[in-house]
Amino acid sequence: MTQTTAATDTRPRESGPRGSRLPEIPGPGETFARAWKALRRMSTALKLLLALTVAVILGTFVPQEPVIPTTVAEWRLGTSGPGEATAAAFDALGLFDVFGAWWFNALVVLLVTSLTGCLVPRIRAFVRTARRRPAAGRNLARLTHHVELRTPLPPGEALDRAETAVTRRRFRRRRIAADDAPGGAAQLATERGHAREGGSIAFHISFYVLVTGAMIGHTFGFTGQVNVVEGASFADTRIAYDLAQPGRWFPFAAHRGFVVELEDFSASYLETPSGTDPGAEAPGDLVTGGALSTFMPTDFSSRVTISEGGEVVREEEVRVNDPLSHDGVSLYQVRFGLAPQIEVRTTDGTVLYTDSVILTEAGGFVWQGVAPVARTEVDRQVALELILLPDAGFNEQGLPVSRSPEPRNPRLAAVVWVGELGLERNRPPSEFQRDRGQQLPQPVILELGETAQVQGLPLEIEFTGLPYWSGFQVSQEPGRWVLLAGAGLMLIGLVPSLYAYRRRVWVEAHPDGEGSRVVLAGVALHRKGVFAEAFEGLADDVAHRLGAVEAPAPEPHLETTERKA
């Protein structure tokens, strides 16, 4: 700390004097070289990594448009969040879509560049060291870890036996003849632990694999959402999807064209009486809509068939966590709901509309949606706003509520709208122009199978059935295997990069009378504490194999400190 302050203090004084010495302006080549050098520094990489985490914090706490667009819209309008002005500032900075913002991508590019700048020399150095055979050791007696042993075996035999011990510990080995060895005695040079650097490199390379996999999925993949009513079907073609998100280079010919039919859908709930659940709202409360129990979906599944060329080729159940995969296309169960079937006729019997209307839950087990009944005459269109109570009843205040999500006692209310509703526009019917239309005062209330007249219009409505609808996500994910491979490489690299460690062990055998004097020595580049123990084990093993006794060490006090540490 003190050092840095001192440095900043002195700098202005040096460059101050009347501009006589202008600072040197580096040329473009030099600037580039400097930037490159800075990028390759580990501290730069670390700062980039930390900058990335800051971006990620923002992405966690500021609502993200691709994830929750409604909240973002509210923030922009100022109806919730920190206010309109802040939201505008956030917009300018791209904070509502951090992961799509240019600066986030720039950060990623910088990090990848830095990574490349680190990795290329590392890989080169790694290949060089990994190829090199274990180097001969010098001055073994001075190394941190060393023992001297006396054995009755001749040097060659002693080294052979020591070699068995290190081989069992999977060290790489090299024998050096006495003439070539620096100590003038035959030596066994061994080494282990390249897996650390190799693993670390594999780990860092896995980023490229993961990024490649994600990009392949992004550009060549396809995701679509589709809602189907029981008994209906859709084909895997572009127009079938309610919402399609093809990758930039997704070839439309890649749609498989097979037909998926929803045979049947089932949902089961677990009912817990509210009385025993302290967390539940009291009956009559708006949130639970007067339900006397809480309901949790325990299972929901769609039975679908897949047909190709008019023939059924597969019949299967699709559930959450159990997607269906066919011909490279995956079908995921994502949502479901009720879709009352209605028929609207004029009083003279002409059928105006007959369809199942996909409703969405409006809370409290109440379902809502809009049926566009007549849209041909632009200024005399008819729409029905449907409200479904699957299990109708009355709460304590006498208001109609639904007591459960299951269609036990369904009641359908249809609010009739007429006028210039804009139903001909290419918009969802639920967004019809309420302000240009007119709402008939009396809604039509129907039981299942019932028909009722619309008061004030020559129309009648029949509630003919109550099937479920099921929402699927359909996707093609061409980068999937690349991603999995990247994830595998990351794990495979990570473990040795954290646990393996480079260490070298030498065994030197000097002839000594009948037998030999053996020096065993070692050093570790990382995890020194672990090596200290491993070395002791190795020394004991070697001594045992050589039938050796430990020679009195030349510097006993040093030896004891070493052992303690």
Partner: protein
């Protein structure tokens, strides 16, 4: 579906484990006070300390067994894996920290005298479990998959390891601060690590032990001085630290956290006082802690242990998201948070080998990473709406 009788016995077992941990923690702290630590960092317990240590180990082990029984019966009561809501998750986290502490930190690495702090972490986690209590019940279909079993169990293992790592990191920062302050006033003893880079380059011959050491450092076991010196300056370490700040900071942090999350003044008061007590215990314990270099190495080893597990957990989560929602990654707050935590731990590992960041710089990143883990876990579940929030409280 849920079996109320089993659920009730699970709750009583939980309470029993909770009490044993608290008692064990107290006894561990008692043991710490009867530990002598020489400057080289080899803890030696006096006779009273050894007895206390054995008792504490027994209490903690017994508590962990009872706790395991509580977790198992909870699973049997709900007829599923017992990790589907925050109560269960917090409970298992505490259990994991205790088990990791007992088996790895105490048994394998011989840092048993630090177990009081590990148990404090576990007790805090169990307190939050109590505050987040939910009756045993089934799960929504999206949580019913074998990938969730893999994903959440890996996340829990990693998180409990990170709790222990945080304990070591925090103790390192405390000890390091004490050593530095003493070093400033006392030229004799210069601290053990420390922030290694800021000190003159360490001579290479120290390879065998600890980390680099400052000049003027003498190894008492090598000759003169010995225990006398080891005692003289460590006691000065306590005096170098403020006895006010130590209870105050944890009090404010924990009380604010509990108040914001649970809005319960009684819980705030209890948790705050417990935190203050813990802070005072830490202040008192400073002389008995291993040297900062050792604590730094310990924190690194623990994080290196947890990081691959966390990596795997995030990956398994992505695979599960693919199965359940049809996309492996969607920057949902929980996913973003886990990735963020992961990045910070990766940052820690890098900082450990970057000049200028070693020591304290790295440790602060480690603290930040742990905060990120906690935020991902609590704040995202409790405050932020995302696909994951239907996992509920």
């Amino acid at each position: 579906m849920a079996d109320p009788q089993l659920a009730a016995s699970s709750n009583s077992l939980f309470n029993l484990a909770f009490v044993s941990y608290i008692v064990a923690m107290a006894v561990y702290f008692f043991r710490l006070a009867f530990t002598r630590v020489s400057v080289v960092g080899v803890p030696k317990a006096t006779r009273a300390g050894s007895v206390a240590g054995a008792m504490a180990t027994m209490l903690a082990t017994g508590g962990a067994l009872v706790h395991l029984a509580s977790i198992v019966t909870r699973g049997m009561a709900a007829d599923r894996w017992p990790w589907a809501n925050m109560y269960e998750y917090s409970s298992i986290l505490a259990w994991g920290a205790v088990v990791f502490g007992l088996l790895v930190v105490q048994r394998r690495w011989g840092y048993g005298h630090l177990m009081g702090f590990v148990l404090a972490g576990a007790v805090l986690s169990m307190t939050s479990a109590l505050l987040l209590f939910t009756e045993a019940g089934p799960v929504v279909p999206a949580l019913d998959s074998y990938w969730i079993t893999i994903h959440t169990s890996a996340a829990m293992v990693a998180s409990s390891i990170f709790i222990v790592a945080f304990v070591a990191t925090a103790l390192y920062l405390v000890k390091d601060t004490a050593e530095r302050r003493v070093a400033r006033s006392d030229a004799e003893y210069g601290g053990s690590t420390v922030g290694a880079a800021q000190l003159p380059r360490a001579p290479a011959r120290h390879e065998g032990s600890g980390g680099p050491r400052p000049e003027g450092y003498t190894d008492p076991s090598a000759g003169s001085g010995g225990d006398a010196e080891a005692y003289a300056s460590p006691l000065a370490q306590r005096e170098a630290l403020s006895p006010v700040a130590f209870p105050l900071v944890p009090l404010v942090v924990v009380a604010a956290f509990v108040l914001i999350v649970w809005r319960d003044p009684v819980a705030t008061l209890i948790a705050g006082s417990a935190a203050a007590l813990l802070g005072t215990a830490t202040w008192y314990a400073v002389p008995y802690l291993p040297p900062a270099a050792k604590l730094d190495a310990l924190a690194y080893r623990i994080i290196a242990f947890g990081f691959p597990v966390w990596t795997f957990a995030v990956m398994a989560g992505a695979i599960w998201a693919q199965e359940a929602w049809g996309r492996y990654w969607g920057w949902d707050p929980k996913e973003t948070g886990s990735f963020f935590t992961w990045l910070l731990y990766a940052g820690y590992l890098h900082a450990r080998s970057t000049r200028g960041w070693r020591g304290r710089g790295a440790a602060w990143i480690g603290v930040l990473a742990f905060v990120a883990l906690m935020v991902t876990y609590y704040a995202v579940n409790l405050f932020i709406v995302g696909l994951h929030s239907y996992a509920g409280v």
